[in-house]
């Protein structure tokens, strides 16, 4: 009797379990949201936009930016402990890139992750526009600015690349490479459309977002990649005439903490030491300690060359704020020892004093001065000269030189400095187009030295090969001696991408 009861109990249990089965197979995704329901209001769109900005702060963005901006030019040597310390950077600096270069694929992957995030925002925005039209339009403007920025670097480094302006579905991953012109066209469209809707400036709580000035400046840079001087002049004129920017009175102050996002800042990559994790979980950057001398607590990369040092006029005080010399003593009892560097120099612009450094070396709160007003002024001078307006050009060129002249030749951050400068920077007066062009190019090189614009300048000025080969001869080095104008203006796209595309992506010639 008793046993029968037990049996019926089990049969009941079994049947109960069977009937609840459909519920049983439903499992919630804890702590995650399905993308179908996430983008419900502009607030969520804004949170998505944050992740479109985020790749700018990745080490896989700023280290390749440094490599492709400085190391592959006559301004900088790779550095590190020796040639085999990060061989991918060394290979690039010697124009020996093979398609499996990790610095190159890091850059590619990061740029495309930013493009994907921007594309999602641009795609989702129209559904939400009615909720807060002004805000949604601004968000779309920011997303377009970012997408333009990411494609700018792709086109500049790799040439024509797969071009997606909506988030790709898995079925769409059979894109071929667009032509270089198609990508540059898209970059111009994105920056123009962004410039239309973005505000001139933001309240303090939104500092760091893309502005109208940033979009117009980047638009001009994009035009210059294809020598569109007229269009570039128009875009730059908008920035200059907006009256949003002024040069900081002393060149030496630009790279100090208190002048971050200062009056000269057009676009800065924001970094903050939050002690919040590892690699890309931090909000800080690797750059300052990565480029600090190995003997002064850093990793010793990105060393200014003798050629860059010699570019400075003897009376130019900007030299001491650009380069550290053996024997300079900084506050905090920090005596510079560059003896392990391939050149005796390190980059002072990104340096942090011992008292300013965060303990975790990859998490330094230092903003990358991505686009300064001085850069805008010098570009403006350059296009004015090209467009036959040398006198106007001189005005803007000399604005930059005047500020340099006003710079304190004694670095207040140093206890003692090895190089003493007697300031002597006469204004430029020539109105000969060719002479003035060379003066502007010189000014750009010293004013913006080590700020990741050298390759951009050499490429658009179409003298990259000539400069590198001359550099190789002059310093008897293999850096640049093998520069081939036929293909070294572009770098190979990552080999794994070519492989995985099963023939859809064709490698750049020469690689």
């Amino acid at each position: 009797m008793k046993n029968k009861n037990i049996l019926s109990l089990f049969i009941v249990l079994t049947i109960t379990t069977m009937f609840s089965c459909e519920d049983f197979l439903e499992r919630p995704p804890y702590a995650l949201l399905s993308s179908d329901v996430f983008y419900s209001d502009p607030e969520k769109l804004m949170q998505g936009l944050t992740t479109a900005y985020d790749p700018l702060s990745f080490m896989q963005f700023d280290l390749p930016l440094m490599t492709y901006g400085n190391m592959v030019t006559d301004d900088s040597e790779k550095g590190g402990s020796d040639v085999n310390d990060i061989p991918s950077m060394y290979a690039l600096s010697r124009f020996r890139s093979v398609p499996d270069n990790i610095t190159s694929s890091d850059f590619w992957n990061t740029l495309y992750s930013g493009i994907y995030a921007s594309n999602i925002i641009i795609q989702k925005a129209p559904e939400l526009e009615s909720q807060d039209p002004a805000l949604v339009q601004r968000i779309v403007g920011e997303a377009k600015f970012l997408r333009g920025l990411y494609y700018f670097h792709l086109a500049s480094v790799f040439g024509g690349v797969p071009l997606a302006i909506t988030p790709l579905t898995p079925g769409e991953l059979t894109l071929e490479r667009a032509s270089s012109d198609e990508v540059w066209n898209q970059v111009e469209i994105d920056f123009s459309e962004a410039a239309e809707v973005l505000p001139l400036k933001y309240p303090a709580s939104d500092v760091g977002r893309a502005t109208k000035g940033a979009a117009n400046s980047m638009l001009a840079k994009a035009y210059l990649m294809r020598q569109k001087y007229e269009l570039a002049e128009t875009a730059l004129a908008k920035v200059v005439s907006s009256n949003q920017y002024t040069l900081i009175d002393d060149f030496g102050k630009i790279f100090t903490k208190s002048f971050e996002n200062g009056s000269e800042s057009v676009f800065e990559i924001q970094h903050l030491n939050t002690n919040s994790g590892w690699i890309n979980e931090t909000e800080g950057t690797w750059i300052p300690l990565f480029c600090q001398s190995r003997k002064n607590g850093g990793y010793g990369f990105d060393c200014p060359t003798e050629d860059l040092r010699n570019e400075f006029e003897p009376g130019d005080p900007r030299l001491i704020y650009t380069i550290t010399f053996n024997g300079d003593v900084f506050f905090g009892n920090d005596t510079i020892d560059n003896s392990e560097a391939p050149t005796p120099y390190h980059n002072q612009k990104v340096a942090l004093g011992t008292n300013e450094r965060a303990t975790s070396f990859n998490d330094q709160g230092y903003n990358i001065r991505f686009l300064r007003y001085a850069d805008v002024l010098l570009l403006y001078a350059e296009v004015l000269n090209e467009n036959g307006k040398p006198n106007e050009a001189l005005t803007y060129l000399n604005l930059v030189r005047d500020r340099a002249r006003a710079t304190n030749p004694i670095d207040p951050r140093r206890v003692s400095q090895v190089i003493n400068i007697t300031v002597d920077l006469p204004p430029v007066t020539t109105t000969s187009k060719d002479e003035l062009r060379l003066k502007i190019w010189h000014e750009r090189r010293v004013e913006l030295a080590m700020e990741y614009i050298r390759r951009f300048d050499l490429v658009r000025q179409k003298r990259y090969g000539q400069v590198m080969r001359e550099f190789a001869t002059k310093y008897n080095t293999d850096k640049g001696s093998n520069f081939n104008d036929g293909y070294h203006y572009l770098w190979p796209i990552p080999g794994n991408e070519v492989n995985m595309s099963n023939g859809k992506l064709v490698q750049n010639p020469g690689y």
Partner: protein
């Protein structure tokens, strides 16, 4: 010198053994157990009686009904007098006192037996009812330790060391049962005999062996599917440190590889080839509970392991059996007197191979040569470092002699009503590399109760606490400590003599560091490694079995698999150099909880109608898995002391995170086993599974199977042939479909999440962003494996020879795969998809021979497995690249090729002189650089391949090696002569290639890192000096170390996995010390390896299939010498 060292090893071994075994304690425990077993029952069993005026005899019967007490008495005692008894919760002795208070009867309680005797006649009673005899084996050798008991009672004994037994108080009409492991159990009717001598015959090839097949068992000779079965006897005397090693080389069709030689490392088990690019882990089922692996199981607790290889046998596990099923049964109790076993061993491990790196002089020379050849600057400190005169062999410094020790104590026994087996074990293994170790404490209790004839319940429970300390090993994205040690500068001392002894962090700051490379002192790294993971696992099930009618029974089974995992990590504060330092000590701790619950309801019906014999089952089962984890980290502790290695001791950078996920499975299944005239066999099964891992609409899958067997030897025509040497000849064939749902939970959903890696600073404040983290595929569905099997089983020459061969074809369709996508997608992760088909074809062959020539018993076994793997289709997708190394992705999976084939440039020797360079197509090369083969150029406009085009580019990449062996081999031999036993076991693979990616670290002579001495001595050094190893140079433009056949090596090997020699104490001696059996043994694992492979170890496991056979800098398998003891009481 070497000899001397060896002697020291043995001495230290014995010393350690005695010190750690704590034998005394063990013996005390044992004594306690045996006396407890006798007295406990009578003291704890309570009797309730309420009888008015009944016969004493009936009172005794009632006591027998209530308990397991059995009364023995002769007819002289008068038990028909009437009594009244009213007691509750009394011990049996109290009741007997009442019953015989005024009667001339004595009683004696012996365990569960109560002997009644007339006063003054006690001794006679014993003699009159006792039986004695001798038990021998077929050769006449006495058999000690045979269990002899009276059927239906717990009255029993074991034979003495001379094979003699004596058993008292047996009724004349009873039966005596004789059981012994490896022998056929015999039941002998007593029929009033006083002496019964019997010969036990060996169960030679175990044709009556019962094989577990999932939701039931079947006689091995009635099997129709392909099942490899390994029993405790086969596991026998081989010492394994990891349960999965039991399968290595023992079962045909099963490939077992260690992922690493690190203690506690996982083993990869691959059944019949590589079925899918996704996970190939088989399903593990321990006592009916599906679980994730067998790593936490104590090998001593295993009774048998069955591997279900073909679809017809594994389809009963439906959705998760695509990669085969490993069924593990733990040891259960058996009727008889308690058996107590103590086993222990202790040994010392060393790396099975040690590399030879450059000494200081060679290193100094190599750096000079490299920079001279490369025209680059010498490291500034080279000379000053060299002049210090240190010459450190870092391999010797960072490896150690690891002690391995194991203790195991078990007791088992039981009566018809209750059977039990419980055990406790402790295992500890130190790694051959410092800072790695593994420790396991395990307990198990298995018990079965027959409540009534019809109702049985039981409980199996295993608890394991394991602790693993591990070092960083080489992976796809990280070079491990092994590579680090091989690269370290030998001019550096282990301990820096200039280190400040008064430094509070001296313990971590005392180490030497290199000033000329970025390698880290590996001894310092191991000293700083505090990386401990602890897992507490509870795996158990409770069942109820109710026989409804004869042949019809219902079974309910509830199983749990609960894991509590703790991870502890501490990075001490230290400072060696500006780049080798950690300024803030940090602590990380995480806690993970996983809970699996399974509920089975099963009906079994067995029926025989004349020649038709069938068993049918129907099962409903549901499973649920919940996984929950949280972790936290902090930085900055006051000191590095052990007391400060807790979160509360740290003050900054608080971080916390947690995840949770869950999945469930519902299944209905049925199976029928049918045989006709014991000649024709049929098994058919069907299972329907619903899984939460797929989107609604794609939840359910159906998995059918059928298999047939034909025992030819039972046919009359065969019998007429009179081939007497054939004992069994059976043909088998089977077909089935099984599934795979092994994808991440929620793979069908696109998901968004915010975390600290999706923040960006705006307005000076980090803003929280939300980003897609998973790209979902709403159409994802089951992967299906369809397999066919053709097999033959034969037993010959009185079962001395057994042979089994299977041919299989296994095709995986809708393969579940996270296809690596182009990065220009921008996706945060690769979505899951059903991509393509893969076919595996091969043979499993097993041959055993066993014989006995008087005192000499031998047993030989060989098994062979062939593997042939081919990708049939990749759906709409193209080739899949994988195997990420420092050299890029080195494997390609493409239609027509095996999975994960190595793909790269072909090395075509070394450029010997400038003429050869000029003739070649590598403009940047110099003499001494590697020449690569120009195979093809840009395809023509129709996409057809073209011939060599004078440029080495992506079109010259080709297949350069296959990681899948042609065949796997296992060979075992066991010899027994009188008291000695000798066994050896070889395991090998043949015909595979290894991608030796660690050569990137050990062969690059770039004037920076230490390197392999052979590579240095044989490097190209002028015309004609080498055609295989490039020159020593700091920087070269040819990119010699690109992905090419330079890294490909023959991966075949044959390894002596185990060799052991045992000695069992003669039975006369055993008797003196009152034990039934004692065996002493010495054994060696991985003693010799025959291979051409130049790396540290050719046995390379991998976590994913796209990087099988890539050596990332393997932690080599340990070579272990050990000695041990096994005692039965």
């Amino acid at each position: 010198m070497k000899k001397n060292r060896c002697c020291n090893d043995i001495k230290s071994l014995i010393f350690l053994y005695l010190r750690r075994m704590k034998l005394t304690l063990g013996l005390i425990i044992l004594t306690f157990f045996s006396s407890m077993a006798a007295d406990l029952y009578s003291q704890t069993t309570k009797i309730n009686l309420d009888c008015e005026d009944i016969k004493i005899m009936d009172v005794l019967t009632e006591i027998e009904n209530q308990s397991e007490f059995r009364f023995f008495y002769n007819e002289e005692i008068n038990l028909s007098s009437r009594v009244s008894v009213n007691v509750s919760d009394k011990q049996v002795s109290d009741v007997l006192d009442i019953l015989f208070n005024d009667k001339p009867v004595n009683y004696e309680i012996l365990g569960r037996q109560v002997v009644l005797s007339a006063q003054n006649e006690q001794t006679e009673v014993f003699q009159q009812n006792s039986i004695s005899g001798l038990v021998t084996d077929a050769s006449g050798q006495p058999l000690p330790g045979v269990t002899v008991f009276l059927k239906g009672t717990s009255n029993g004994t074991t034979t003495s060391t001379e094979g003699r037994y004596s058993i008292n108080n047996v009724p004349e009409n009873g039966f005596l049962v004789f059981t012994f492991i490896g022998m056929k159990t015999q039941e002998i009717p007593i029929d009033g005999k006083k002496i019964i001598n019997i010969i036990l015959s060996e169960v030679s090839i175990d044709i009556e062996e019962i094989v577990t097949i999932g939701y039931g068992t079947v006689k091995k000779r009635d099997l129709t599917g392909s099942v490899a079965s390994i029993s405790a006897k086969d596991i026998g005397v081989i010492t394994v440190t990891n349960s999965a090693q039991i399968l290595q080389g023992k079962a045909s069709g099963v490939m077992v590889t260690s992922v690493s030689g690190s203690p506690g490392a996982d083993m990869n088990i691959r059944i019949r080839g590589l079925g899918t690019v996704n996970s190939n882990e088989p399903l593990y089922v321990i006592d009916g509970i599906p679980t994730s692996g067998m790593n936490n199981l104590n090998p001593n607790d295993i009774e048998s392991i069955e591997v279900l290889k073909d679809a017809s046998s594994s389809a009963i596990y439906g959705s998760r059996a695509a990669s085969g099923v490993v069924l593990i049964t733990t040891k259960k109790g058996a009727v008889g007197t308690p058996k107590i076993t103590f086993e222990s061993y202790m040994g010392v491990s060393t790396p099975s191979k040690s590399p030879t790196q450059l000494n200081s002089e060679q290193y100094h020379d190599m750096i000079q040569t490299a920079h001279l050849n490369g025209g680059t600057k010498l490291p500034k400190k080279l000379e000053s470092e060299y002049e210090k005169g240190y010459d450190t062999n870092w391999w010797d410094e960072f490896t150690q002699k690891g002690v391995v020790q194991n203790y195991f104590l078990s007791a088992s026994g039981g009566s018809e009503k209750v059977k039990y087996a419980f055990s406790g074990g402790f295992f500890k293994q130190e790694g051959t590399i410092k800072a790695s170790a593994y420790e396991r404490i395990s307990f198990r209790l298995n018990s079965d109760y027959s409540i009534t004839e019809k109702l049985k319940v039981g409980l199996n429970l295993g608890i394991t606490n394991s602790t693993r300390n591990s070092i960083t090993e080489g992976t796809q994205s990280w070079f491990g400590l092994v590579s680090e040690a091989l690269n370290m500068d030998p001019m550096v001392p282990v301990i820096n003599p200039d280190a400040d002894v008064n430094d509070p962090d001296y313990e971590f700051n005392k180490y030497g560091y290199t000033s000329i490379t970025d390698s880290k002192n590996p001894v310092a790294t191991t000293a700083r490694t505090f990386n401990e993971s602890n897992n507490f696992k509870t795996l158990g099930n409770a069942y109820l079995n109710y026989t409804i009618l004869d042949g019809l029974s219902y079974r309910m089974n509830v199983g749990i698999d609960i894991n509590n995992a703790l991870t502890d990590n501490f990075n001490p504060r230290f400072y060696l150099t500006p780049s080798e330092k950690n300024s803030l000590a940090s602590i990380y701790r995480s806690y993970g909880y996983s809970q699996g619950i399974v509920l089975d309801n099963m009906i079994t019906y067995t029926k025989t109608i004349e020649d038709h014999n069938f068993t049918a089952i129907a099962v409903f089962t549901s499973e649920e898995q919940i996984y929950d984890r949280f972790g936290g980290s902090k930085q900055e502790t006051l000191t590095n002391d052990e007391a400060n290695r807790v979160l509360d001791a740290a003050t900054t950078s608080d971080q916390i995170s947690g995840t949770k996920s869950s999945n469930s499975l519902l299944s209905y299944l049925g199976r029928i086993n049918y045989s006709f005239k014991d000649k024709y066999l049929l098994t058919a099964s069907i299972r329907r599974d619903g899984s939460s891992r797929f989107a609604p609409g794609y939840n359910w899958g159906l998995f059918p199977s059928v298999s047939l067997g034909w025992k030819i030897n039972e046919e009359s025509f065969f019998k007429k042939l009179n081939v007497q040497f054939v004992d069994l000849l059976k043909l088998r064939t089977g077909w089935g479909q099984i599934g795979n749902q092994n994808i991440s939970d929620y793979a069908y959903l696109s998901l968004i999440k915010g975390s600290n890696s999706t923040r960006y600073v705006i307005g000076g404040v980090p803003l929280q962003g939300y980003a897609p983290i998973v790209m979902g595929n709403p159409n994802i569905k089951w992967e299906t494996v369809e397999s066919s099997n053709f097999g033959i089983d034969a037993n010959l020459f009185k079962n001395k020879v057994s042979f089994s061969a299977d041919y299989y074809i296994k095709e995986t369709r809708d393969m579940l795969l996270q296809v690596p996508l182009v990065k220009y997608s921008g996706y945060p992760s690769d979505p899951w998809s059903n991509a393509g088909s893969i076919r595996n074809i091969g043979w499993d062959i097993q041959l055993n021979y066993r014989n006995l020539i008087s005192d000499f018993k031998y047993d030989l076994g060989v098994n062979l497995t062939t593997l042939n793997n081919e990708v049939i289709s990749l759906g709409t997708g193209g080739a899949i690249y994988g195997g990420k190394t420092k050299l890029g992705q080195v494997t390609k999976t493409e239609v027509g090729q095996p999975i994960g084939s190595f793909y790269g440039y072909v090395m075509d020797g070394i450029f010997q002189n400038n003429e050869e360079v000029e003739k070649g197509v590598q403009p940047n090369a110099e003499p001494g650089d590697i020449r690569f083969k120009d195979i093809a150029g840009t395809p023509d406009s129709n996409g057809n391949p073209t011939g060599p085009d004078g440029i080495i580019d992506g079109y010259d990449l080709t297949y350069i090696g296959n990681p899948i062996p042609d065949f796997l081999l296992g060979f075992s031999m066991n010899l027994t002569y009188k008291n000695f036993d000798l066994g050896l076991f070889l395991q090998g693979v043949y015909g595979n290639e290894i991608y030796n990616a660690s050569k990137f670290f050990t062969f690059r002579a770039n004037g920076r890192y230490n390197m392999d001495q052979d590579a240095y001595l044989n490097a190209w050094n002028g015309e004609g000096t080498s055609n295989t190893i490039p020159r020593i140079v700091s920087t070269e433009k040819n990119n010699n170390f690109r992905n090419s056949s330079f890294f490909i090596e023959d991966g075949s090997y044959l390894r002596l996995k185990d060799i052991h020699l045992g000695y069992s104490l003669p039975s006369s001696l055993c008797k003196v010390i009152n034990i039934s059996n004692l065996r002493l043994f010495v054994s060696a694992q991985n003693l010799v390896t025959f291979t051409k492979y130049s790396g540290l170890d050719p046995e390379i496991g991998s976590s994913t299939l796209l990087d099988v056979g890539i050596d990332y800098g393997t932690y080599p398998q340990p070579k272990t010498l050990m000695g041990g003891i096994s005692i039965n009481f």
